[in-house]
């Protein structure tokens, strides 16, 4: 089984002939490349997201889960700056659909910022994963001043050792060697997904070497060719490939069976 743990749906285009054309195209690429399930979030709102903004995103994400039942699972996207509303929204989404299985955080706050603590604590209580948009660049750092990097994820994991944090796209641009090294000493239940447009040879192997295959997850971030291509090309044991393909994530969300 192959699970793409980092993907996105968008707002349905109501005036289009097929409101879900992009999602249908994504599923066609999944079919062509053997991806069984994509775990999607919807970030189609100006950021930093308002309460109304992330609620709208999540209603549309839930609609996508209904439309593509079994092919999409979902993350509830919240802005942790609105702690009370964010926690309520997570509960709403998880109650609304059993295929909504986690939380997506973007770059409104560093994940180790005190403002994020209520959301992290709630996710630990629920035992659900948190997919955190992440990256570490040596240039253009002002573009995303609050983007979390490996060091922030490690710091948060030390504060919440049971938090199932997934660092988004270690190949998502930025110094992936730095990011991997920064996450080496994070808590064992925190990890990273391999998606992103960077397909440097050795990226996945180095992540396995430094973080361990148990902490890595297959993903595409909707770039099927880069995600699938690097996963196919990376050298690893069959056992590690199975873990990264789906076993690790199924274990994380309690669906091993």
């Amino acid at each position: 089984m192959l699970i793409d743990v980092h993907a996105h749906c968008r707002s349905p285009q109501e005036d289009a002939e097929d409101p879900w054309a992009e999602e249908r195209a994504l599923i066609a690429r999944m079919d062509a490349t053997g991806i069984d399930v994509a775990v999607v979030s919807n970030l189609s709102t100006p950021r930093p997201a308002t309460i109304e903004g992330f609620r709208k995103c999540n209603r549309e994400m839930l609609a996508a889960l209904r439309e593509f039942r079994g092919r999409f699972w979902g993350y509830a996207y919240v802005n942790p700056g609105y702690a009370e509303e964010a926690v309520a929204e997570i509960d709403y989404c998880l109650d609304a659909d059993s295929d909504c299985i986690g939380v997506k955080l973007y770059h409104e706050y560093l994940i180790c910022d005190p403002a994020v603590r209520p959301v992290l604590a709630h996710c630990v209580e629920l035992g659900i994963p948190i997919l955190q948009h992440a990256g570490y660049g040596h240039v253009n750092r002002a573009v995303e001043p609050h983007i979390s990097d490996g060091s922030h994820i490690t710091a948060a994991s030390w504060d919440f050792p049971e938090a199932k944090i997934i660092a988004g796209h270690i190949g998502g641009g930025g110094d992936w060697e730095w990011a991997i090294k920064a996450m080496r000493s994070a808590s064992p239940v925190s990890g990273a997904d391999i998606s992103g447009s960077v397909t440097d040879e050795g990226l996945v192997e180095y992540a396995i070497r430094m973080m361990g295959a148990d902490r890595l997850y297959f993903a595409t971030d909707n770039q099927t060719h880069t995600g699938v291509g690097k996963f196919r090309s990376a050298m690893m044991s069959d056992e590690d490939r199975e873990k990264i393909a789906s076993k690790n994530f199924l274990r994380l969300i309690g669906r091993e069976g």
Partner: protein, 252 residues
Amino acid sequence: MIFDCNAYLGNFFSRQIRNNTAPELLAVMDENEIDRAVVGSLSAIMYRNCQMGNEELAAEIADYRDRLVPFAVINPAYADWEYDLDWCVNEMGIRGVRAYPQYHSYGVLDPCCKELVQACGERKLPVTFFGRQEDYRQSHQKVDAPDLALNDLAQLCSEFPQVNFMILEAIGHGASRFVTEADTLPKNSYIEFSRGGVDELVSALGVERVIFGTGIPMKYPGPAFVCMELLEASDEVKQQIFGENLAKLLEV
């Protein structure tokens, strides 16, 4: 036949490159059923004197010329580059040139770049430009090499209609003049798609000017193959892209 327009030997300045000798590269090619590859020296990019990297490449591939087709890295802002170009043509048998304005501190539309293009045209050599050699966001702490602007490259191509150009490792083709003005620009640019966009390139440029490249051993070969897998096209069209277009361009 699979003919890869985008392969390398040697070392890159900002990170370790594995499988970067000729025998190791050939093993990667065999694993991926790549028959032939255009190779350039990675080391040459950051040697002050690129030519030493070209000479290393010549020695490295001497026994493998049937499968590895050399391109020279030429810096037209460096002393005596025309001598180097002629040496590479006559002694090394290069079939093309790789230019790196982003690492050699000149602009795509600067006079020295145009002189290089002119010189390559006179020698019937295609000139290669790289949108990026690596993602800008992971730049080395001491090196600032932003992506080349595709519209500048399109402008250069339009000013030298008699010269052939290979554009590798670029992103954002769809919004560039290569696509938006495909009907009016000269048909002298050949574009590689390992970073995506093969569908729009085939639609805009026509299948004849789309070429297959992986970036090995710097990059995983898989993404370029997945692009081909996802391309809705006949086997004949795919064969053209996989190798026939490049073989025709390089006359090999």
